[in-house]
Subunit: 175 residues, 2 copies
Amino acid sequence: MAEPMRTRGRPAASPVAAREETPLYELIELLFFAYRDFVGEADRLLESYGFGRAHHRVLHFVNRHPGLTIAALLDILRITKQSLNRVLKELVAKNFIEARAGATDRRHRQLYATETGERLAHDIARLQTRRFATALEEVGPGARETATRFLQAMIDAPERERVMSLIASGRERTK
Amino acid sequence: MAEPMRTRGRPAASPVAAREETPLYELIELLFFAYRDFVGEADRLLESYGFGRAHHRVLHFVNRHPGLTIAALLDILRITKQSLNRVLKELVAKNFIEARAGATDRRHRQLYATETGERLAHDIARLQTRRFATALEEVGPGARETATRFLQAMIDAPERERVMSLIASGRERTK
DNA sequence: GGAATATGTCAACATTGCTGACCTAAATGG
DNA sequence: CCATTTAGGTCAGCAATGTTGACATATTCC
């Protein structure tokens, strides 16, 4: 493997331009393949319902955050309302998601997973959980803690807080 | 946080159906956001060249494996030759990739990144490496080893060997 | 009551997957 | 040497999911 010396602990805040890191090709490619397989598995299940990834993302976050509004969802997914609406309309039509007018402000639409939707969301979460659980077991003790912190650190710094509090605010008990 | 007890080390090979794991929503969502930011950064750079993610994937693997053939590339990316050809044609036209007839079998086309292509591939790899390096530093010593093994374990088991030897066979010195 | 807000919708387009069909050039085997 | 296989290119059309821009509607707020 012959790692050059430059990969020592901390490249020391040397002259900015001089700091040239050895490319971490291994990690770059591993993340590509890991993510591919991670979502590919869900894709296969979704296909049997006539849904795609976009549907899953919507269903997932609505299930995790019952009562979510359109605006909040747009903020999470960072897509346009037109893109969202296309898939959301289908999810509502097929009775996986239900939209109710907001209690206080009737302009808002609050989204809820129906029982059917909850079931599908949970089925996919189970597949993905299984993959994580098996992987973590394989890596050994402490893997979960490290993997969690690692993934957090991979998120754009200015985004991190928002994402973390979003995750923390997911409903605690699902099923 | 109140993690239920079920998340102990190993769920013990109990009756198959009874084993219901607590969904690892935190990891599921972290991976989603981490990957989004990871590729988003590259997307922005690629956009200025009129390229998309598909172009990047091709350029990346050709740069890592000079002399790669079409068939080998199709096998790595798992897309159709029509999809590949669309982006490959553009990469060749814009002089980021060069195709030469195979030395022994002239039916094969061997692909090489041009100097321009190499530069772009490297620029993106640098961005992504920086992200990994910063994240790993943040997590602390041993993070790289654990992250590597974790990502490996997330890949479909039957695929793993193929992927690992592909990664290992990347050219050792890039730039 | 006018302005701002939350959402829906229509039309058009780009990227990147897909299938199916068909074409050429080169190698290979009998 | 000719038929077949192999490697690749290309055309046409379609699907999913992202984008902009423009405009409509209902509701709330000042």
